[in-house]
C-alpha cells in the first residue's frame, strides 16, 4: 500500500526539525481567555494581540453583542440550511441591505466565509474559454477559486501595471476576461496601484474583481476600500469582502452593480451547497457594518497606531515589508524560519502575539512576523509593543 501521506514527509521533517531546536509550535497557540479586542490570555499570561485583523475592534462592541444575543434568542442557534432553501432569515437580508448601503451598490450576496466568496464568485463567473488574469501574490482563496473553475489562468508580477497590460494585450480580443486584484495584500500590507491597473484592464475590455478584505472600514472616505481611496470604485465590477476582519464576525460577501448579478444565487455552488451563517452572526455583522459607516475618529486613531508602530520598528532597526505604513498591516521581515520562530516565541514570552507567516503563504520565500493593528490599541499599548519588540529582538539577535 502506498501511504497517501508520504507527500507530506518533507513538511513533517521540517516541522520536527524546527521543534527539535526547542521552540514552541507557533501554529498551535490557544487563547484561554479573550478580554477585549486587544488583550487575551495565552499560556496563562496576559498578552497584547497584534495579529488578529480585528482592525476596528468590533468584536466586543456593545451594540454588536446585544444584536447577536437578541437574534440568538429570537431565531435560534443555527439555520440548518442553504441560503436558497430554508437558510435565508430576516437577518441575512438585513446584512445584505447593510452592505448595499455601505458600498452604495445595487446587489450584495453574503457567503458563509470570505474564502467561499472568492471561491464561489471567481469559479462561477469565469468559465471555459475565459481568462482570469491575477496578481502572482494573490490570496489562496483566489487561487483556489481559479482551480475550481474552467478558465485559463494568467499570472503577472506583483503590483506590476506594465506586466498586467502586456498580458492583457496578448489575449484574444473577443475572449471573456476577469482581472482579479486585491486592495491591500495581506502578507506585506502593501497597497495595489488600482487606479492604473483598472484603467488598463478596462481598456482591454476586462471585468474587474477587487478583494478589499483588508481595507474595509478604514481605507477610503467611506471605508469602502482602496478602490474608493483611489477614486476608481465605480469601475470595479465586483468587490469581495469579509466579515472576519473589520466587521469582527465571520462570513464573506460580494457586492456589485451588475444588472444580472442576482442569478449568482442559483449558479454559485459555494453559496448554494453549504449552510448559511447563524442568526447571531448575521445580526452582529449587520449592526457592525452600519456602525462602520460612521467612525472617522476610530479610523484616524488606527492610522496613527499604524504609522507609530511602523516608524518605531524601523527606528529600532527591523526590516519592514513596506517603506511606509500603507495599511494596518506591518510586516517585519525575519532572516529565516528558525530566527522567525525564535522571535515569535520571544515576543509571546514578553506578552505579545503576532502572526508568524512563512512560505508558501508568503511571497519570495520570506518568513514574516505580521502585525495587524486595531483601532482599540491605545497609544500606551503601541509603545509597550515597541518595547517588547526591542527586548525580544535583542534577545534573539535580530537587532
Amino acid at each position: 500500500m502506498t501511504d497517501l501521506f508520504s507527500k507530506f514527509d518533507a513538511l513533517i521533517a521540517q516541522r520536527e526539525g524546527l521543534l527539535a531546536t526547542g521552540v514552541k509550535d507557533p501554529f498551535s497557540l490557544v487563547m484561554e481567555e479573550v478580554k477585549s479586542p486587544t488583550v487575551a490570555v495565552c499560556n496563562g499570561k496576559e498578552t497584547i494581540l497584534l495579529g488578529t485583523y480585528n482592525y476596528m475592534g468590533m468584536t466586543f462592541d456593545d451594540d454588536v453583542i446585544a444584536a447577536g444575543k437578541k437574534a440568538l434568542d429570537e431565531f435560534g442557534a443555527g439555520t440548518t440550511g442553504s441560503r436558497v432553501l430554508n437558510g435565508t432569515f430576516q437577518g441575512h437580508k438585513e446584512c445584505e441591505d447593510a452592505l448595499k448601503e455601505f458600498y452604495d451598490m445595487k446587489h450584495a450576496m453574503v457567503f458563509s466565509t470570505g474564502y467561499q466568496a472568492n471561491l464561489g464568485i471567481i469559479s462561477t463567473i469565469a468559465g471555459k474559454g475565459d481568462y482570469i488574469i491575477l496578481d502572482i501574490d494573490s490570496h489562496a482563496s483566489i487561487y483556489d477559486g481559479c482551480k475550481m473553475g474552467d478558465a485559463e489562468i494568467v499570472a503577472f508580477r506583483h503590483n506590476d501595471v506594465e506586466a498586467l497590460e502586456k498580458r492583457l494585450k496578448r489575449l484574444p480580443a473577443e475572449a471573456g476576461k476577469l482581472v482579479v486584484l486585491e486592495g491591500v495584500y495581506s502578507m506585506l500590507g502593501d497597497v495595489a496601484p488600482l487606479k492604473e491597473m483598472i484603467r488598463v484592464s478596462k481598456e482591454a475590455g476586462a471585468m474587474v474583481l477587487v478583494d478589499e478584505a483588508h481595507s474595509m472600514g478604514f481605507i477610503g472616505e467611506n471605508g469602502r476600500g482602496v478602490a474608493e481611496e483611489q477614486g476608481v470604485l465605480d469601475d470595479v465590477d465586483f468587490v469581495i469582502g469579509t466579515f472576519s476582519k473589520s466587521v469582527g464576525t465571520v462570513g464573506g460577501f460580494c457586492v456589485s452593480n451588475h444588472p444580472k448579478f442576482e442569478i449568482m444565487r442559483l449558479v454559485c455552488r459555494p453559496y448554494v451547497f453549504t449552510a448559511s451563517l447563524p442568526p447571531a452572526v448575521v445580526a452582529c455583522s449587520a449592526t457592525s457594518i452600519r456602525k462602520l459607516m460612521h467612525n472617522s475618529n476610530k479610523r484616524a486613531h488606527l492610522w496613527e497606531n499604524s504609522k507609530t508602530l511602523h516608524k518605531g520598528l524601523r527606528d529600532l532597526g527591523f526590516q519592514l515589508g513596506t517603506p511606509e505604513a500603507q495599511s494596518a498591516i506591518i510586516a517585519v521581515i525575519m532572516p529565516d524560519l528558525e530566527k522567525g520562530a525564535a522571535m515569535w516565541e520571544a515576543l509571546l514570552a514578553n506578552g505579545l502575539y503576532v502572526n508568524l507567516a512563512r512560505p508558501p503563504a508568503t511571497p519570495a520565500g520570506m518568513t514574516l512576523l505580521r502585525c495587524s493593528l486595531c483601532a482599540e490599541h491605545t497609544s500606551e499599548q503601541v509603545s509597550d509593543i515597541l518595547d517588547r519588540f526591542e527586548r525580544a529582538g535583542k534577545a534573539v539577535g535580530i537587532i
Binding site: 481568462y131 502572482i136 481559479c146 485559463e152 489562468i153 494568467v154 499570472a155 503577472f156 508580477r157 506586466a163 502586456k166 498580458r167 496578448r170 489575449l171 508558501p360 519570495a364 520565500g365
Partner: protein
C-alpha cells in the same frame, strides 16, 4: 513554422541566466528536478519567455510543462 532545433536554441539561451547549477540543458532536462527551480524562478523565467515571444503561457499550460522538450512544443504551438 519555426524549426524545432532553432526553437530549442532560443529557449536554451533564455534558460542559461537561470541555470545556476550549470546543468547541461537537453530536451529531457526537467525544470523542477534537474534545474531545481523554485516557484519564483519559474515565474521570472515564464515572464522572460512570454516577453521574448510575445505570448501568454497560462498556468494551466505551465502545469503540463515538465521538461524543456515540453516547453519547446508549447512555445512552438503558441507561435506558429
Amino acid at each position: 513554422m519555426t524549426d524545432r532545433n532553432e526553437m530549442f536554441d532560443r529557449l536554451k539561451d533564455l534558460i542559461e541566466p537561470f541555470n545556476k547549477k550549470e546543468v547541461d540543458v537537453t530536451e529531457a532536462t526537467t525544470f523542477a528536478g534537474d534545474l531545481e527551480w523554485d516557484s519564483l524562478t519559474v515565474m521570472d523565467f515564464v515572464a522572460e519567455v512570454e516577453d521574448s515571444f510575445d505570448i501568454v503561457i497560462s498556468m494551466n499550460l505551465q502545469a503540463e510543462i515538465e521538461n524543456v522538450g515540453h516547453l519547446v512544443d508549447a512555445v512552438k504551438k503558441l507561435t506558429d
